[in-house]
Amino acid sequence: DLPKKSKLSNPEISRYSRQLILPEIGIKGQVLLSNTSILIVGAGGLGCPAAIYLAAAGVGCLGLVDYDEVELSNLHRQILHSESKVNVKKCVSAAQACTELNSFVKCVPYHLQLNSSNALKIISQYDIVLDATDNVATRYLLNDACILAGKPLVSGSALRFEGQLTVYNYKGGPCYRCLYPKPPPPETVTNCSDGGVLGVIPGIIGSLQALEAIKIATGNECSYNQKLLMYDGLEGTFRTIRLRGRQSTCPICSDNPTITQLIDYEQFCGARASDKDKSVTVL
């Protein structure tokens, strides 16, 4: 746990001066940010821009979860890593880049695969969670863990030229299971390895995730609660969709949940919690 601050030091005031003069942030918002812990799950295409902009903005603590190591084929979109970091743990590489930009931020790398035994323990130490993962099983796991731990989940995803963004479990809004009670058939799920992705698309979505987290942390209204942003980078269209509210039938976030602890998500989804299994995919 971070020791709570109540004011900013002179070096902080000078560093953050350009955002301190924004009335929507101000000293109060900056102090709130510096007392906020944010967990980013996935230090890849979405996690890299989200992490660096949250570090730049001055959050107190940034947790970075990734079990993977940097590969050359990541560098077209995972901009916190570099050629000299190939084979280095992604969480360590990203944490180092964030610390180099802003040493006021406490960066905590977690070199592990988030699973049903470790998720709650980690998540409960943070105020806001960012879903920057790349597979369905981990998305259900993160959703359920955020419901059980009572944390808002800023969820982003990207594929090809498209991106999506929503905030789950915030101020009475829906959760991932409210929208998707059943997992998609594994043969309909396309990951970035198979479907491809233009690197800057997760760059845009990850940056938007950072912005939503900053707005939540500073007491501003968040824009995508019970709303979904659909972005098509090829057409240059941004569409905001009104989503259903929290569902009374939801197995995890309703008043009478049937799921009260984390389950086996790979079994539930019939798919591995990784984007690396090259199963036959179509969509």
Binding site: S157, A158, G163, Q164, Y180, P184, G195, M230, L243, L283
Partner: protein
């Protein structure tokens, strides 16, 4: 009609489709629309789009930029010029 997130790959890889539904005595609902799409628009592997009488898990239906759950889901009566969107949820990062 508009497809995105990969759902367009089942529909000639075209995102935008202008569709004229044939005249019918009772109003067209989404419940009627889905089998009609299966017969008239889907060329192959319909199970990747429709399962039973509804869309497969992982596809979100939007009616005029609102989640179909807010509009009555399968029972929604389609109006002239309605914009119906089928999006496949993305999971990559």
């Amino acid at each position: 009609m508009y497809f995105s997130g990969g759902a367009e790959l089942l529909f000639d890889k075209k995102k935008k489709h202008d569709v004229n539904l044939p005249a019918k005595e009772t109003p067209w609902t989404i419940k009627d629309l889905l089998p009609w799409m299966k017969d008239n628009m889907l060329k192959e592997r319909p199970e990747l789009f429709i399962q039973g009488e509804t869309v497969r898990p992982g596809i979100l239906v939007l009616i005029n930029d609102a989640d179909w759950e807010l509009m009555g889901e399968l029972d929604y009566s389609i109006q002239n010029k309605d914009k119906i969107v089928f999006i496949s949820t993305l999971h990559g990062g």
